[in-house]
């Protein structure tokens, strides 16, 4: 294929937003991605630069669009769970949890879930949240030149993956949380191993603070870079660590109080501008690091209760409350949301009469809204800082493009 033909195809499929005619003197368009490690997947950034200064940026997304919503319209609710896993592949347990809670609310069985099932669900989602934040912070270190913390964090994430593999049989994409229950109870001896892991992890979290977050080079690269004011964040629909990094104490686990989170004690860390200004890239990562500690607290409480009040019994069946037929009644519309490591993941369902297939299902991805603020906070920064800003948003393209 000749190069001009190829160029024409590229421009037809995904034309530039900015045209060369409207550029000011000295400006140029630089294309970043879609295949570039610092874009965390297949994200294409069209950057207008004036020398080293970014004057505008337009993200082009959709390279990993896999028609999740179309698939969901053709499959029963329980059959969609593996697809939900593949949306946010770094935090599959959290996505499953949201989906199953949404469907349970449609069916009206939210209050019939056994407590032990709820605690196991929270336990595995919080383990997965730590794993996801470890990838976020670790790859962010790589983006701005710190390689060692990444290897350390993937080493520790590996333990979580092995624990979850022991639980569910899969390392990343679990299909473990089912509508109305779980695939299987925790394996025998899991609580003890998980306790050992928690004890092992706490010093490692201190280590990451020391080696990465308090590192002078890291602070120089991230403090006062990509400052996101709180009102802009809310207006752009940002959620999760992105919004909490801007100083708002807003966590759906507390606000909506779903599952057993009202019975658990944990804090909501927010960005305070410790080394720079509130809402900069450092704050967002610091919030993630603090959230790992909160997740450890939650896991500890879950383990205590799973060995105490909601102990394993021989006749416990985690699939007991799973409905045999997922028939919803009448035309209902529901938007259900919950907190994943990246923010507010929501599913909108419309059901039709007596069917186990939704008429329409929409996934509201947190990364989608979080990334849309990029052009607002990247204007006027350096090209190298643009990489730091994109990394601090913590996008997962599988979820962004669905």
């Amino acid at each position: 294929m000749s190069s001009t033909l190829y160029k024409n195809y590229l421009l037809q499929s995904e034309p530039n937003k900015f045209s060369l005619d409207n550029l000011k003197d000295g400006e140029m368009i630089v294309n970043m991605g879609p295949q570039h490690p610092s874009t965390h997947g297949v994200l294409r950034l069209e950057v207008v630069t004036d020398g080293e200064i970014v004057t505008d940026v337009a993200p082009h997304i959709g390279y990993l669009h896999r028609c999740f919503e179309k698939h969901a319209e053709h499959m029963a609710y329980n059959q969609t769970i593996p697809y939900v896993d593949r949306m946010d592949y770094l935090a599959a347990m959290n996505s499953e949890h949201v989906w199953c809670m949404g469907v349970e609310k449609l069916l009206g069985t939210t209050n019939q879930i056994p407590k032990r099932v709820e605690y196991i669900r929270v336990l595995v989602t919080e383990l997965n949240r730590i794993a996801s934040h470890f990838v976020a912070i670790g790859t962010y270190g790589i983006d701005i030149g710190a390689f060692t913390p990444f290897l350390w964090m993937l080493r520790d994430r590996e333990h979580i993956q092995r624990l979850l593999e022991w639980v569910s049989g899969a390392r990343m994409l679990y299909n473990y949380i089912w509508v109305g229950g779980l695939y299987y109870d925790l394996p025998i001896g899991f609580e003890k191993r998980c306790q050992e892991f928690i004890d092992y992890l706490q010093p490692k979290l201190d280590e990451i603070d020391t080696v990465l977050l308090e590192n002078k080079i890291f602070i120089d690269r991230t403090a006062n870079v990509g400052i996101l004011p709180m009102d802009v964040a809310i207006n752009y629909g940002c959620s999760g660590p992105m919004l909490r990094g801007s100083g708002l104490k807003y966590d759906l686990r507390r606000v909506d109080g779903y599952s057993v989170y009202p019975e658990l004690e944990f804090d909501i860390p927010t960005g305070t501008g410790l080394v720079g200004s509130v809402g900069d890239c450092w704050d967002r990562n610091y919030v993630r690091a603090l959230e790992c500690r909160e997740s450890v607290k939650i896991i500890q409480q879950c383990l205590d209760r799973l060995q105490g009040d909601y102990k394993r019994t021989p006749d416990f069946d985690p699939q007991a409350a799973c409905p045999k037929k997922l028939r919803t009644t009448g035309t209902q519309e529901l938007y259900f949301r919950a907190e994943t490591p990246r923010g507010e993941l929501g599913y909108f369902f419309r059901t039709t009469d007596r069917s186990d297939v939704p008429f329409r299902c929409k996934g509201r991805s947190p990364c989608f809204s979080n990334l849309s603020v990029l052009h607002e906070i990247a204007k006027g920064c350096m090209v190298a800082d643009l990489i730091a800003i994109v990394g601090s948003v913590d996008i997962v393209l599988g979820e962004l493009d669905r």
Binding site: Q12, S13, G62, H65, G237, E333, Y335
Partner: protein, 203 residues
């Protein structure tokens, strides 16, 4: 939080008192999640008031969903899920527009909300891309997930895949046929690959 959560009835009364009774076309209060159906033309001013008024203050637009009800029903819907962070209350709004059943009819139009909530910018682009509803006065109405020269809107009920996209056959594999895709059977197109003629045929 600052004060008691506002009920759905109070929100409806607020809208009716400010804009008149005709702005609320329909309502459903007893559902799992109650909603109001608003007049399409006046959606933007109602939402601006809901966003700015100190007693409602819906500062967070969670989700915009476009729904195609199919050619028989002849209508399309856009659903907005609003949330107020300080007051902790939800509101689901809906507008309904006639559907264009053939390509030569006018594309359905809904006023944009991207000047009120900037997050609506990308969500509306996605609705346009997926079900083909045009948002009036939107600053940048392009496709967002599909390619710019993709034909049709995939989440419409009568959507049919295009046959070729830049010379690539779109119904890609024979699994499509097994899954109920009613197209032509897969045929090898283009030049034979270096391996295709060397492969042994099964006896």
């Amino acid at each position: 939080m600052i004060q008691e959560a506002v009920t759905f009835e109070e929100l409806k009364d607020f809208i009716v008192a400010t804009f008149g009774a005709e702005v609320v076309v329909a309502e459903k209060a007893d559902d799992l999640q109650p909603y109001l159906v608003l007049q399409t033309e006046r959606l933007a001013e109602v939402c601006l008031a809901l966003h700015d008024h100190e007693q409602t203050y819906f500062d967070f637009l969670s989700c915009i969903t476009g729904i195609d009800n199919g050619p028989e029903a002849g209508s399309m819907e856009v659903i907005y899920n609003l949330y107020s962070i300080p007051y902790d209350h939800h509101l689901m709004l809906k507008v309904q527009v006639p559907r264009n059943n053939t390509p030569d009819q006018a594309i359905p139009q809904v006023p944009t909300l991207s000047h009120i909530w900037r997050t609506a910018d990308w969500h509306e682009r996605e609705v346009f891309d997926m079900v083909g509803i045009y948002f009036k006065d939107h600053p940048d109405m392009r496709r967002i997930l599909c390619a710019a020269d993709w034909e049709g809107h995939p989440l419409r009920r009568d959507y049919e895949l295009q046959e070729y996209y830049h010379g690539i056959k779109v119904p890609f594999d024979q699994h499509n046929e097994l899954n109920g895709f009613k197209g032509e059977p897969q045929q090898l197109v283009g030049q034979p690959t270096p391996f295709s003629d060397k492969r042994e045929k099964p006896e």
